[in-house]
Symmetry: C2
Subunit: 256 residues, 2 copies
């Protein structure tokens, strides 16, 4: 299996602290050695860093961890391969465009005997079940809303409907973002935390590193983090509700 990390905020925020703990799991403190990737939205644009090397040894990961890219929406993934060989084309997150926005998707799980009927509007480049599911999701959304992005509640409901139909193939923890919102779905393991005033000190589980968020935030900041397993050992992380897509907007939790 893999690990997921997502962030959704109301002010552009860097994710360097969380990445320090997350990337250690890519082969150092945990077994996910088959590549890693991270996408940062900046406005409508997106920066996508991918590396089929283990994140704990990747020069790209080291660079990204030290370079404070400030973003409202981030999706990251470290991979332990199930379907599809280790390679750049099978490294999450995946990117496509729909309705004139980039969409980013990362999956932790395994969809068995999963060969969806794709009409050619989105086709997988690699060999993973994950990319096939992402292609079918975007195809479904485009067919359902041919005139463009619907209002957030209709979009949320459509993503939830799609997910209900896909769960029967297997484990389907995922993160999805179009730069405006972050969608998260838990099959087995996915936790979240919303940090807001009063901010406190957080201490990583995977490395002896701490940060006092009160020193680097303003009272109006709100940051939601979603991770397969809690990243800190002195904060309360909450499991997402199972088998239901949650939407995060401006750092707020919207179960829908």
């Amino acid at each position: 299996m893999c690990e997921l990390l997502g962030m959704n905020c109301n002010v552009p925020t860097d994710i360097c602290f969380s990445l320090t703990g997350f990337q250690a799991r890519g082969g150092a403190t945990d077994v996910h050695r088959d590549g890693w990737g991270i996408a940062f939205f900046e406005g409508r644009g997106v920066r996508l860093f991918l590396d089929p090397q283990p994140s704990c040894e990747s020069p790209v990961a080291e660079f990204v961890r030290r370079y404070p890219i400030r973003s409202l929406n981030v999706v990251a993934h470290i991979r332990q391969a199930t379907q599809g060989p280790v390679g750049l084309e099978n490294t999450h997150p995946f990117i496509r465009e729909l309705w004139g926005r980039y969409w980013i998707f990362a999956h932790n799980g395994n969809l068995v005997d999963y060969s969806p009927d794709l009409d050619g509007s989105y086709l997988p480049v690699g060999q993973t079940d994950s990319e096939r599911a992402f292609c079918l999701l975007l195809q479904t959304l485009r067919n359902q809303f041919p005139d463009g992005e619907p209002d957030p509640s209709a979009l949320h409901a459509a993503i939830n409907d799609f997910t209900s139909g896909t769960r029967r193939f297997g484990t389907f923890n995922f993160l999805l973002s179009n730069g405006g919102r972050l969608f998260a779905h838990r099959s087995t393991e996915l936790h979240y935390i919303v940090r807001q005033a009063p901010f406190a000190v957080a201490h990583l589980k995977d490395e002896d590193v701490a940060i006092d968020f009160s020193e680097v935030t303003t009272p109006d900041d709100r940051v939601a983090l979603v991770a397969t397993l809690p990243l800190t050992d002195n904060e309360v992380w909450t499991p997402l509700p199972a088998e239901h897509v949650v939407m995060f907007t401006d750092g707020a939790y919207c179960p829908g």
Copy 2:
């Protein structure tokens, strides 16, 4: 206007030497200060680095220049904005998927009053004429070949036809790759060189840096480079034929 740099090879090759000269033009030895980007194909996968900062000041550019990513197909761009504000979503090269392959596009020029009729299969995320042209190109190819990628000569001819219809809107120097081939079109300025045995010493125009390619190659290597302006001052760069799409495959020049 902007500058383009492309590479197509028969063995995975790093582009660090050429990037050293090219990136200096992003605000240091030349005026292109409005962002830069580079895409490296590795198999069917692609790594895309984008930065709206000038390449001569960009930490991402510095990282990429020092990190030898070996690739068969590279497309790079430094921007001097004409249409669309400076921002990540307007930074070239652009990425989309067609026929289960990633396609990468970068443009140097200006298409005036260019509002093509897009059917929604590919829509621009930013505000540039360049991204609109890329979307129309992929839409045209997909409609023309709905069953998947045609043979190389048919693909080459279709891209050339599309380009003929677009040139009337203005300057349309571009580079395009799907990871297998590199397509290049010159409206005004675009030069190429094919390096093969016997390899010699090359010296950059923009910085006092030289490399002896005979020390880092094998006799079978072949590398085609395409750049707006020659990058070296002791080699012969040839202007591409004007108003005709050239295809590069395995480092070889195929005028079609």
